[in-house]
Every structure is written in structure tokens, then in C-alpha cells.
């Protein structure tokens, strides 16, 4: 394999990794604060991609407005599911929330296929030529995608580490009982958490829909790679989630050159096994052997 192809795969991996960092961050925050791996994350992304496409049809073309509408829609669904399902289950075992999240995943995806069918769709964006630097190809669309993802990540990290809301979130992630004892109202933090989680999944799904095609399985198929990336970075650690998923995506894109794209999920599975075998706490996480 020549160097240029590898470099292009790395660039592609960075773009996909930055984009997947948004839902990966949602996974890790939900895991750290609501304490379960949310299997509906992928399908919230799918919802984001479809609502972007649908609102583009309704609103007439403006891609920015469509993406914002999609983020609002996924945040609303995410909040709805919190109030209906996950709030009621918050005192019960994490397994119950995990099983319920599978139910949410199926309910969301089947609602989409009921209205949109199994066909592929594309989100309408202006076609642009890639810039070519002696073989290195960079798509301007990819730059917009990375820009949007970076902005969103900056906002959430700013909130997490520099505002009172963020401090409360981190307190609850550390110890829910201690946080409650210090008078932190969990309810508000949860509302904020699920809004962010929904909006980020929506944005990630919309950006992926712009980069690739919109399919009913779009998000579900990424669930494994995202979990693998999050665990690689250290589950529960926000910075780890971003680092982990970007590292993972680069590895995946480069490896696809050698084994073919069909093996992406298989590769994700093996990376996951190796991480769990050698370093279950991931790059930045704390060991959580027996939760």
C-alpha cells in the first residue's frame, strides 16, 4: 500500500472520528451519569439523519437550518424517552435500563422505516471538488463537518469544565449519593444530559448523512464501532471518548485498505476484545471492574 493512500485513509479516519466523537461523547456521558450503555444512541443518529433530510424538503434547501431542526428533534425524542422510560428506571438495575434502551432503539428505527421505507436517501448539499495536494485529497465538505463537530465539542467541554451546570454533572458522575447529599438537584442535570445526548446524536447522524447516504441501519451499524472507541478511550471519560473514537476511526480506515470495508464491524469487535483483555480502563478511564 503506498503512502498517499494511507495518508488519505488517515485523513478520512480523522473526519469520521471527529463526527463520531459527538455520539461517542453522548454514550460516555450517559454511561457516566445515567449509568448504562445506551443502545439507542445509534438510532438517535439515524433519526438525526432522516429528520435532516425531511426538514430539508420542508424548509427548502438550507442545510444549516435542516441540521438545527434535526438536532432539536432528536433532543426532544431523547428528553421524551428520559421522562417516560429512563427516569422511572433510574432506581432500578442498570440491566433494566439497558434492555429498555434496546426497546427504544427498535421503536425509533421502526418508526422511521414505517414512514420512509428501506430505501436509501441522500441529503442535498452543493457538490464540490476535492482539493488535491499532490495526491492528498481533502473535501471542503469534510472541513465543514470537522468544523461543526469541533464547535459542538468545544461548547460541551466549555459547559462541562467551566460552568456550574458542568460541575454538577461531574459531581453526579463521581458519586450520585454524595452529589445528592450536597444538595445538587439531579433532575436538572439529567434534563441537560439528555438534551445534549440527543442533540449530539442528531448532529452526528446529520453530518454522517451528509458525508455518506441515509439508511435505516446507519446508526445501529455504528453502535459497535462507537462502543469500541469509547471503551478504548476509557468509558466515562469525555476526553477519552473523543481521543478513543478518533484513534479507533483512523485505525479502522487504514485497516480497511488491507482487509476490505466489510470487516469494519469484525475489526471493531477484535479491538474491543484486545482493549478489554489488556487495558479495560482504556486510555484515560478509571478501572470499573465491578459496577
Amino acid at each position: 500500500m503506498d503512502l498517499i493512500s494511507i495518508a488519505n485513509a488517515v485523513i478520512n479516519g480523522v473526519v469520521i472520528g471527529m463526527l463520531l466523537a459527538l455520539p461517542a461523547l453522548a454514550i460516555t456521558l450517559v454511561f457516566g451519569i445515567a449509568r448504562f450503555p445506551n443502545a439507542a444512541t445509534g438510532d438517535y443518529m439515524t433519526l438525526g439523519a432522516y429528520t435532516t433530510m425531511a426538514s430539508q424538503l420542508v424548509l427548502g434547501g438550507s442545510i444549516v437550518a435542516a441540521v438545527l431542526a434535526a438536532m432539536t428533534a432528536t433532543a426532544a425524542i431523547s428528553l421524551l424517552m428520559y421522562f417516560w422510560v429512563f427516569r422511572a428506571l433510574s432506581e432500578r438495575s442498570h440491566v433494566s435500563r439497558l434492555i429498555a434502551s434496546i426497546g427504544v432503539a427498535f421503536a425509533v428505527r421502526s418508526t422511521i422505516t414505517f414512514f420512509a421505507g428501506q430505501d436509501q436517501y441522500v441529503i442535498d448539499v452543493p457538490l464540490v471538488r476535492a482539493w488535491n495536494f499532490g495526491g492528498l485529497r481533502i473535501l471542503p465538505t469534510d472541513l465543514y463537518i470537522v468544523g461543526a463537530a469541533l464547535t459542538a465539542l468545544f461548547v460541551v467541554f466549555f459547559i462541562m469544565y467551566l460552568t456550574p451546570t458542568g460541575r454538577r454533572m461531574r459531581a453526579i458522575a463521581d458519586s450520585a449519593e454524595l452529589a445528592a447529599a450536597s444538595g445538587i438537584r439531579a433532575r436538572r442535570v439529567m434534563i441537560f444530559l439528555w438534551t445534549i445526548a440527543g442533540a449530539f446524536c442528531g448532529l452526528g447522524g446529520a453530518l454522517l448523512g451528509i458525508k455518506a447516504v441515509v439508511l435505516p441501519e446507519l446508526g445501529w451499524e455504528l453502535l459497535m464501532p462507537m462502543f469500541a472507541g469509547v471503551i478504548l478511550g476509557g468509558i466515562g471519560s469525555p476526553v477519552g471518548a473523543v481521543l478513543g473514537i478518533v484513534t479507533f476511526s483512523i485505525a479502522q480506515e487504514v485497516a480497511s485498505l488491507y482487509v476490505g470495508p466489510a470487516y469494519k464491524i469484525v475489526l471493531a469487535f477484535f479491538i474491543l476484545l484486545v482493549v478489554l483483555l489488556l487495558r479495560p480502563q482504556g486510555m484515560l478511564g478509571r478501572p470499573i471492574a465491578a459496577r
Binding site: P37, S96, I99, A107, A262, L272, P280, I288
Partner: protein
């Protein structure tokens, strides 16, 4: 009409076999296996491929169960040292990895074209028109044997340990037992049962292809045991009958709602499964027939 009932009964029994494996893992040991269909797929393909190579069907079925159980071993070793959530993620990844491999390795599995011409059970032993009935009887025998075996396992010292792990892992560890070892064994037995179910189904259908092994099947089994009541064998039977009743019954929905397409009907079906998972967990955690209160972790 008779044939239709036999087909449905076979379908119930295959699901029941799978469900009993998951009941041992989740209901009695507390293991969250989200990749049950992966072990089922391994059993199907292993038995089918061996039989196509000329291996006698009883031997290929045994090999299918054994291979599926062995596939669970590394997963158990790696994931079960860690918390329960990891097992859920790893098994889900496992079943998808199996499906993708079956789809891609065409030299072995013919990929998406599927494997046709798998030898039928009892072919050449009984008259063709009685074959389905014989398969049904065989499945009844296998199910009864598996249920009896699980019952014996639960009553044995091993069974008391796995139930204790489900209820309080720390206490088990304090007694000097290694929970991971017991959990791995439970995972392997359950996977072996799923493999056997897969093999039996392959020799009944005579055609298999990777798209029969989507994660949805795993969650069909989950809804069956959650609906029936976790930790009760009677609940597993009731849950499975309800599940297959729903899956078969929903085919006739199109006769009532005429304006609905095939894709939409499939969506409605999955929507109901998803909603049922949510609602049972929310409103009836002990299942329709279960007795035990929800345990806390």
C-alpha cells in the same frame, strides 16, 4: 392446515430451545447476552457445512453445539472479569461480527447467496410426508431433555452458585468461589444450546443465509423470556408461545389493514417488539408469569 400447525410448532420449539439457553444465562445467572443469535448462527452453519461434506447429521449437530459453546469461552474469559455491561456490548459485537464474516467469506459460506441443499433430518429414514412430523417429535424430545437438564443444573450445587452470583456476587466471592469461572460455564452451556437449536433449524429449513441471523432474533428471544418472567422455566415456555403467536398472528394484520405495505408491516412488527420491551421492563418487571421481585444490583 396440518402442515401449517406443524410448521408453527417447530418454530415455537426452535425459539424455545434458544430461549432456554438464554434463560440459563440471564434468568438464572444474570448474564446479559445480547449476541445469542451469533451462537445460533455458528450452530446452523457448522452443522450445515459439516453435513454437506458428508458428516452424519447427528455428529454434525453435536459438533454444532460444541463449537457454539467453545466460541463462548473466550468471550466469557475476557468480558466476565469485568462488569455486566461489558458482556452485553461484547456479545452484541460478537453476533454482528459472526454475521459479517458469514456474509463475506464466500469461499466457505457462499455469502449472501446462502447455503442450499442442507440434508434434511430423517431424510431416507422415513417417508417424506412424515419428515416434518418426525422433526417436530425430535424437537419435543430435545426440548424436554434440555429443560430437564437445566432443571437439574439449577438444583445442583453449580446451580445454587450461579443463582447466588445473580443475586449477590460479592457474597459468592467472599465464600471463596470465583464467579467469573461459573459465569463462563453458564455462558458456554447456554451458547451450546443455542448452537444445537441453530443446527436443528438448518436441517429443517435446508436453506440458510446470513440475513436470518440479524440481532432482531436475539431480541425476539429476550422479549420471550422477559415477557414470560425471568428466572422461571414455565415463564420461558409461555413467553415463547406468546412471541411466536404474535409473529405468526401479525401476518394476518394485512388482511385487516389493507392499505399497508409489506415494509410497513415489518416496521409495525418491530415497533411492537420494541415497545413491548420498554413496557414490560417499565410496568411489569417480573414478567406476566414470574413471581420474584426485581433484584437490585
Amino acid at each position: 392446515m396440518e402442515g401449517y400447525f406443524i410448521a408453527i410448532a417447530i418454530s415455537v420449539l426452535v425459539y424455545l430451545l434458544m430461549a432456554s439457553g438464554l434463560a440459563l444465562q440471564y434468568g438464572f445467572t444474570g448474564l446479559v447476552n445480547f449476541g445469542h443469535v451469533g451462537f445460533f448462527a455458528i450452530g446452523s452453519y457448522a452443522s450445515a457445512l459439516l453435513a454437506l461434506k458428508g458428516v452424519p447429521v447427528p455428529v454434525s449437530l453435536a459438533a454444532a453445539a460444541l463449537l457454539a459453546a467453545l466460541a463462548a469461552y473466550p468471550i466469557g474469559i475476557i468480558a466476565l472479569r469485568l462488569g455486566g455491561d461489558y458482556l452485553a456490548i461484547v456479545t452484541l459485537g460478537f453476533s454482528e461480527a459472526v454475521r459479517m464474516t458469514l456474509q463475506t467469506e464466500e469461499w466457505l459460506t457462499r455469502g449472501m447467496h446462502g447455503l442450499p441443499g442442507i440434508p434434511r433430518l430423517f431424510a431416507g429414514w422415513v417417508e417424506p410426508r412424515y419428515i416434518d412430523l418426525c422433526i417436530l417429535l425430535l424437537l419435543v424430545v430435545v426440548c424436554v431433555a434440555v429443560f430437564f437438564a437445566i432443571h437439574q443444573i439449577i438444583k445442583s450445587p453449580f446451580g445454587r452458585v450461579i443463582e447466588a452470583i445473580r443475586d449477590n456476587e460479592v457474597a459468592v466471592r467472599a465464600l471463596g468461589k470465583n464467579p467469573a469461572q461459573f459465569k463462563t460455564r453458564s455462558l458456554m452451556i447456554g451458547a451450546g444450546i443455542a448452537g444445537l437449536a441453530g443446527g436443528l433449524q438448518a436441517h429443517y429449513l435446508t436453506f440458510i443465509s446470513p440475513e436470518q441471523y440479524v440481532p432482531l432474533i436475539t431480541f425476539y428471544i429476550w422479549i420471550a423470556i422477559v415477557l414470560g418472567g425471568v428466572g422461571s422455566l414455565r415463564g420461558v415456555v409461555m413467553g415463547t408461545v406468546l412471541l411466536v403467536g404474535f409473529l405468526e398472528g401479525s401476518r394476518f394484520l394485512r388482511d385487516i389493514f389493507t392499505g399497508i405495505s409489506e415494509v410497513q408491516l415489518a416496521s409495525v412488527r418491530i415497533w411492537i417488539i420494541g415497545m413491548a420491551l420498554i413496557c414490560v421492563v417499565l410496568y411489569r418487571p417480573q414478567g406476566l408469569f414470574g413471581k420474584s421481585a426485581e433484584r437490585k444490583h
